[in-house]
């Protein structure tokens, strides 16, 4: 469909301006194209001129012609009515100047867009990109093939006209971030992705750190027909409750211990490090099972040997305080085969763990996962002979910008090297400004939803490289379920409407007024000590003359 005619080049080298009448309603983010000859290499290696569709994205819209403001002087009188009375045509009055940024033509060999570096001539007709072209070119995945995640549809197109699929292999290896303010659909979107990854054609191994208990409803996948494979495959969703989550003390490192103890002195660190070394080396028996007692005793021994008894004594209560909780255990732990299996989605419900415990848990788990995957890739025996994908809700807790988290170091390592070892990370956060810059920029696929906080908007602008200003300007105006999808998994950023979940959504806000009313109704609201007027003491004297 022809929607406009090019009138002039734009301000930037890749921009051009075209004029369109009102009825085309081209919005920011819409895709258009013009045809032009470009020089391409054919199969024989010769350079030939070929007519290609050069795609562009609408970046701004400015009214060029419309009714004058004076026609709108009376809110009760429409400008059309005034114009009609003056014999001015009311049809096709508005003209818009639309600025578009060239994306390029789709190069089948590269599987990506190539920018021809020339803007169209004035007079060139501009057409609306077809739904099928966009489905084919925006992401590099065939929806019919394995490994595609149907995320939703293009926002500007009528419902049901386009289907957008993301390549699971891509975002599961080069990491993903889902950034949005509360209530914009972060966990909803993440659940959609998980649903796609758990389909019979993907059978992913996923670990979710769920501090709010929002992912429990994914269990519905186990019985939903849409997730059942012809070969008997059925996804398994394993919820691990906070009381079942343990870290085996022997899995900690000495620096983990240092971070757990409140500000140990140098002497205490020396004693602890030596005691830990001895316990880990297994000289006293089984190094796999170390209890708090073992550690305390060993510290006493080392303290005696080194003449640092007072430090050892001071360590005693510190160790008790740090490791005495339910989280740390001398033998119980979360084993990797228990957590991660193909076709299994494990939800770690962290709701009652405090922040430091959550960070420590993730730190230990990530270290184990990383170690297991490195071992596998190096050809050694390993518990994980398949790639894994981990999803971190409240990602800013585990990779904070101020660096104060035990989990940040290993997370940084996995994000920079995980691709080689088959560990994918998905960071979900409502506070992008509170996430470590490096962590954010390592997530190569971004799903960004409504963000109103200016600091968070700036963080997204800094951390997300290839999303244009025009799209980021849309952030405050997006409604729940609408997202900008950008990064390595797509060929160019675009606005999408996230599809409906197959499983039910649990992260709705609490119906506070309803709960208050119910709670009030449940109370004994009858005031005590009430007496009928006629039964009051001294009632017989009431009418007597004073």
């Amino acid at each position: 469909m022809t929607v406009g005619i090019v009138c002039e080049p734009g301000e930037q080298a890749n921009e051009f301006v075209f004029v369109t009448p009102d009825d085309t309603e081209l919005k920011t983010g819409e895709f258009i194209f013009y045809e032009s000859s470009v020089t391409v290499e054919n199969d024989d290696g010769d350079l030939v001129e070929e007519k290609k569709k050069i795609f562009a994205r609408v970046t701004s819209r400015e009214q060029k012609r419309g009714f004058p403001d004076n026609f709108m002087a009376d809110p009760g009188v429409s400008p059309e009515s005034v114009a009609r009375r003056l014999g001015i045509s009311t049809e096709g009055v508005d003209l818009y100047k639309i600025t578009a940024t060239i994306i390029g033509y789709f190069d089948e060999k590269l599987g990506d867009f190539t920018n021809p570096r020339i803007v169209p001539q004035p007079g060139t007709t501009i057409e609306l990109a077809s739904d099928t072209d966009l489905e084919e070119y925006l992401t590099d995945v065939d929806p019919e093939e394995e490994g595609s995640a149907r995320i939703g549809e293009l926002l500007h197109r009528p419902p049901g006209k386009t289907q957008i699929d993301l390549p699971i292999d891509n975002f599961a290896s080069t990491h993903l971030s889902v950034l949005a303010s509360t209530g914009s659909g972060k966990s909803y979107t993440s659940s959609v992705l998980i649903e796609e990854m758990m389909q019979p054609d993907s059978r992913a191994s996923i670990l979710i750190a769920d501090p709010h208990g929002e992912y429990g409803s994914l269990q519905e996948m186990e019985t939903d027909d849409r997730f059942q494979g012809d070969d008997g495959y059925s996804p398994e969703v394993k919820k691990i409750k906070p009381e079942d989550i343990h870290i085996r003390i022997s899995e900690l490192t000495v620096s983990d211990l240092f971070s757990l103890l409140d500000d140990p002195s140098d002497a205490q660190e020396q004693v602890l490090a030596e005691a830990w070394d001895e316990l880990q080396s297994g000289s006293d028996g089984n190094s796999e099972y170390i209890s708090t007692n073992d550690l305390q005793q060993k510290c006493q021994e080392v303290g005696k040997e080194k003449g640092l008894e007072s430090s050892a004594r001071a360590l005693d209560w510190r160790i008790e305080k740090a490791l005495g909780g339910d989280l740390f255990h001398h033998s119980k732990h979360l084993s990797l085969p228990e957590l991660l299996q193909p076709g299994r989605c494990t939800v770690l419900q962290l709701d009652t763990l405090d922040l430091r415990d959550q960070q420590m848990l993730l730190s230990v788990l990530f270290r184990k996962i990383n170690h297991a995957r490195v071992e596998h890739v190096k050809g050694r025996d390993s518990e994980l002979d398949f790639p894994v994908f981990t999803l971190l809700e409240e990602g800013h807790r585990f990779a904070p910008a101020d660096g104060d988290a035990r989990s940040l170091g290993i997370l940084g390592t996995i994000l920079s090297e995980g691709r080689k070892f088959g560990i994918g990370v998905g960071i979900i956060s409502q506070r992008p400004s509170k996430i470590d810059d490096d962590v954010l920029s390592q997530c190569k696929t971004q799903i960004i939803m409504q963000i109103q906080n200016p600091l968070d908007q700036d963080a997204v602008k800094k951390g997300v490289e290839d999303v244009g200003e025009d799209l980021l300007d849309e952030l405050p105006g997006l409604t729940p379920g609408q997202a900008i999808i950008a990064g390595d998994s797509v060929n160019t950023p675009f606005l999408a409407q996230i599809r409906e979940r197959y499983t039910s959504h649990e992260a709705e806000s609490l119906p506070a007024t309803e709960l208050w009313t119910d709670a009030w109704n449940g109370q004994d609201t009858e005031p005590s000590g009430l007496t009928e007027a006629d039964e009051e003491e001294g009632v017989e004297d009431r009418d007597a003359l004073i």
Partner: protein, 204 residues
């Protein structure tokens, strides 16, 4: 039309839509028009038959000029002023009132009534000696009624032809129309205020 007051005749034009009318004096007609019949802003019509269809050119008086050929002839006369009628009749007859008429549109007539008004420029021209008549008030409203709405599609033409006088003429027309059709007053108000603002503020 009930009122058939003839006010003058066409004697020339400045353009296809801008005509000059000479107002009948008492020497030309027995019942010469009163000054209120050819006042500033008065609607007039000229009846014509074109292709066997009776139609009317509708216009408005946007300007008036008085002409006295005696002006400047201050030399002595052979006759006393009251006798000059007898001795120099042509001088007296040449005192004229000329009005400028801007053509606003045309309309088909049936039984002398406007049936289909059109605010576009008529393709045909008036001719010298065509009789100019005063347009009755009810027909003024009818001329503005298009599709059950009051229209002033000639707006810009009046502005072009009448120049500085356009605002007064249009205001007068709008006031008249608002009075006749109060239900349309809001929309006409928007046009009137816009007109006042543009013409008065531009001069500031």
């Amino acid at each position: 039309m009930t009122d058939n007051t003839e006010i003058g005749k066409i004697i020339g034009s400045n353009s296809h839509i801008d005509y000059i009318c000479e107002i009948y004096t008492e020497r030309m007609r027995e019942n010469s028009p009163n000054p209120t019949d050819y006042e500033f802003g008065e609607f007039v019509y000229i009846k014509k038959t074109i292709e066997n269809q009776e139609c009317a050119f509708i216009g408005v008086i946007y300007d008036t000029q008085i002409v006295d050929p005696d002006q400047g002839r201050t030399g002595p006369r052979l006759a006393q002023p009251e006798e000059q009628n007898v001795f120099q009749p042509s001088y007296v007859d040449e005192k004229q009132i000329l009005t400028g008429i801007a053509i606003l549109g045309h309309a088909d007539l049936e039984d002398g009534e406007i049936v289909e008004a059109d605010h576009s420029i008529p393709r045909w021209t008036l001719e010298v000696d065509d009789v100019v008549r005063k347009l009755p008030e009810d027909q003024v409203v009818r001329f503005h009624e298009l599709n059950d709405e009051l229209h002033l599609e000639y707006y810009q033409r009046i502005v072009d032809v009448a120049g500085g006088f356009a605002e007064d003429i249009l205001s007068q027309i709008l006031d008249q129309l608002k009075q006749k059709r109060p239900e349309e007053a809001d929309a006409l108000d928007v046009i009137q205020k816009n007109l006042e603002w543009e013409t008065k503020m531009e001069g500031m």
